[in-house]
Symmetry: C2
Subunit: 377 residues, 2 copies
C-alpha cells in the first residue's frame, strides 16, 4: 500500500508515515486485506481501517467524552449562546456501515472488524442501495440494539428481537459529520430508524432539559443522552443511574472478567451524579442500596453457580440465515472467545442460536478460591 498517499489522506498529527503506520495491524478479512488501527493514535480514531484493494479509508467513530458534573459540563463544554441538541444514547453495539467494494455494504465494529452478522442485519433492516448510490463517500453510524444480538442484550420496550438506530452520518474518509438537522432529515428521507431527538436547547436551559430527559430515561431503564452542537463537531455524553447499576451488575456477574475494569469508573459516575442531583439523604441512601445490590448480588450468584458446577459467561440469542450465523460464530471464535452453543433450532424460517461466551477468568479464579486458594497482598 502507498503509505505516503494514505498518510496525506488521513491528516493525522504524526510527523511522518512510519510514526503513524507502525500502529496499524494487518488483518485478512475474507477476501480483503485490511490495515486496522486498534487504538486511537496521532489524531486518528480507533478502528480506522484502510482497505487498499478498494482504495478506501473507513475512519473510526470518535470517542465521545463524558461529563461527570452535568451543569458544569454543559457550561464548560458549549459556548455561551450555543444551541445544544440532545439525542438519546442507546445501549447497543456501535457499527459503521459503508459501501466500499463490489460485495455490497459492510458493517465495521468499533475495533475495525467486519461483523458478518451485523452486516446481514443492516442489509436486511436498512434500504442501503439508494443511499450509497447517492452518498458513496458517507458512512452510517448506527447502533444494533435489542435482546437478540451477539454483543449486547439490553431490552427496549419497542424492540422484540433486534433493531438498528442511526445516530450519525459522517464522511467515510475524514469522519466529518453532517449537521444534526440535515442528518435527521436525510435519515427520514431514507426511512432509516433514528435515535430519539429530545430537543434543541439554548445552553442556558440545556442542563434542566437534559436532566429531565435523564430522569425519564432512567425510569425506563435506558442509557443516557449525547449532547451535540448543531454541526455535530462537539459531542459529550451523560448517563442514567440505571445504566451505571446495570453495567455494574453485568460486570460483577463476571467479576474476574469484567468487574475490575468497570467498577471504579461507574462508581465515580454515580458519586458525581448523586452529589449533583440527590437532594435528600433518603434518595442518596436509596441509590447507595441499589448500587450495593448491583455489585454484590450478581457476584454472589455467580460464585454459587460455579460452586454447584455451572458455567458462567455472557448468554446471547441471535437469529438469521444459516450461513451468516456460521460466519458469526467463526468470527467470535477468531476473536479468541470461547463460545458454547446451547441451542440451535429453526423458527419461522430462520435459524436461532443461543450461545454462551464463556467467562474463563471468572470460572478459573472463582474455582481456585472456592477450593481454598489463597492470595498474598
Amino acid at each position: 500500500m502507498d503509505e505516503r498517499a494514505y498518510f496525506e489522506r488521513l491528516d493525522s498529527t504524526a510527523s511522518d508515515p512510519s510514526e503513524l503506520f507502525e500502529h496499524f495491524e494487518q488483518r485478512s478479512v475474507g477476501e480483503y486485506t485490511a490495515h486496522v488501527l486498534p487504538s486511537a493514535r496521532h489524531g486518528v480514531e480507533r478502528g480506522t481501517v484502510i482497505l487498499d484493494s478498494a482504495d478506501a479509508i473507513v475512519r473510526g467513530y470518535p470517542s465521545i467524552p463524558r461529563v461527570l458534573a452535568l451543569d458544569a459540563g454543559v457550561t464548560s463544554f458549549f459556548d455561551s449562546g450555543a444551541t445544544v441538541f440532545a439525542e438519546e444514547k442507546l445501549d447497543g453495539f456501535n457499527v459503521r456501515v459503508v459501501d466500499v467494494g463490489d460485495d455490497g455494504p459492510l458493517a465495521f465494529t468499533r475495533g475495525g472488524y467486519i461483523c458478518p452478522y451485523t452486516t446481514a442485519r443492516v442489509r436486511e433492516l436498512l434500504d442501503l442501495g439508494e443511499f450509497f448510490e447517492e452518498y458513496p463517500g458517507k458512512m452510517l453510524c448506527a447502533e444494533l440494539i435489542g435482546p437478540e444480538t451477539p454483543y449486547t442484550t439490553h431490552d427496549y420496550e419497542e424492540v422484540d428481537s433486534h433493531a438498528i438506530r442511526v445516530f450519525d452520518v459522517r464522511d467515510r474518509e475524514s469522519a466529518a459529520p453532517i449537521a444534526v438537522p440535515e442528518r435527521r432529515d436525510l435519515c427520514a428521507r431514507y426511512d432509516f430508524p433514528q435515535s430519539r431527538l429530545f430537543g434543541r436547547y439554548d445552553r442556558s436551559e440545556a442542563t434542566e432539559a437534559v436532566w429531565s430527559a435523564i430522569e425519564e430515561l432512567d425510569a425506563e431503564g435506558r442509557e443516557g443522552v449525547v449532547m451535540k452542537t448543531a454541526d455535530s463537531d462537539s459531542m459529550v455524553k451523560y448517563t442514567t443511574e440505571s445504566k451505571h447499576h446495570d453495567e455494574l451488575a453485568d460486570a460483577f456477574s463476571l467479576p474476574f472478567d469484567l468487574g475490575r475494569d468497570f467498577v471504579f469508573s461507574r462508581i465515580t459516575r454515580e458519586a458525581f451524579q448523586a452529589a449533583e442531583f440527590d437532594e435528600s439523604d433518603e434518595r442518596l441512601r436509596e441509590r447507595a442500596h441499589d448500587l450495593g445490590e448491583s455489585i454484590l448480588l450478581p457476584a454472589v450468584d455467580t460464585i454459587r453457580k460455579i460452586e454447584s458446577g455451572g458455567t458462567v459467561g455472557e448468554r446471547h440469542r441471535v437469529r438469521g440465515g444459516n450461513d451468516e450465523i456460521d460466519a458469526l460464530l467463526d468470527h467470535l471464535r477468531d476473536l479468541s472467545l470461547t463460545v458454547e452453543v446451547e441451542e440451535d433450532y429453526r423458527e419461522n424460517g430462520q435459524r436461532v442460536v443461543e450461545f454462551l461466551k464463556v467467562a474463563e477468568s471468572t470460572t478459573d479464579r472463582t474455582t481456585y478460591y472456592l477450593e481454598g486458594g489463597t492470595y498474598d497482598e
Copy 2:
C-alpha cells in the same frame, strides 16, 4: 558493604548477590546508612533492611496470605490433624522492634523506614531493655493501634489514645518465628501486651470456631483473625464484613487516592464471604445495602466538601514529646506526603498535634470534574 557475606546470610532464592542486591535501595536514616528492599524479591521479604554499620539484618515481616472461602481455606491450608491457633488480627500499624545499634531499640515500618514516633512509643510502652539483653537477635513484631496514631485511626474500646500489641516474635536475621505457645509465654513474662488468642483448635473444628470469632469481632467493628500452625510457620488470615466496609468507606472518602486500588479486592472478599455465610436473601440484601453505603456516601461527602472549598485527606492526632513529633512530621514529609498541621498544643505535659495528610489526587481530579472537565473513554 560485603554483598557476598550478606547474600549468604539472607539465604534467598537468587543465584548470585547482584541478582538480589540490584533491588535494594540505599537510604540515609539519621546517622545510619540502610540498604532496604522495597518489595519482596527472591524469597526475601519486603522491608528487609541491612544496617552495615551495625553488621545487622532486619528481616521484613512476611506477607500473610488470605483465604476468601473460609472452610475450604482451612482444609486446604492446614494438614489434616494439625492444630490451628487463632489470634486476633488488629487494625493498626505493623512495626518490627529491634535493638541493633548503640542508640536503643528502633521501630521499623513495613516499608523498612525507622519511624521516630513509633520508636518513641514502643520505648515508652514496652519494657524493652531486659528483653533485648536476653534476646538480642530477636525482633518483636507489633501493631500500633488506637485513634491517636500517625497512620491509622481505628477505634478500639480498650484504647483511649494508642497502644501496642505484640503478635509475633521472630529471629531478626532469618525471620524464623517462635512457636505460638512459647511466644505467648515469653510476652507474658515481659508484660508485653499481646493480640488476643481465641484458642487452639483441631483442623476439623477450626472453621466453626473461627467463624464464631469473626462474628464476635464483626459485631465490635474489629478486623479479623490470623490462623497459625503451632510453630507459626504457616499463617493465613480472614477478615470481617465491618472491616471490608470500613476500608471501602475510607477509600471512597478519597476516591482518586485510594478508591481505585481498594475497591475490587474488598468487594471480592465480601462476595465470597456472603456466598459462604449469608444464609438468607434478607441477610445478603442487608450486606449489599451496607456495602453500597460504604462506597457511595463517603464519596458524595467528599465531592460536596471539595465543592464548598474544603480540603480533604487523612486526619490524624498524635501526642508525645516535642522532638519526636517534629521528627515524625519531618519523616512524613520525607515520604513526599503533604502534611498540614491543623492544631498544635500542649495537654498534660505532652505536645498534641492534629494534622491532615492532604489527598492531592482526590482534590485535583474532583475539582477538575466539578468544573465540567471531561474524560474520554
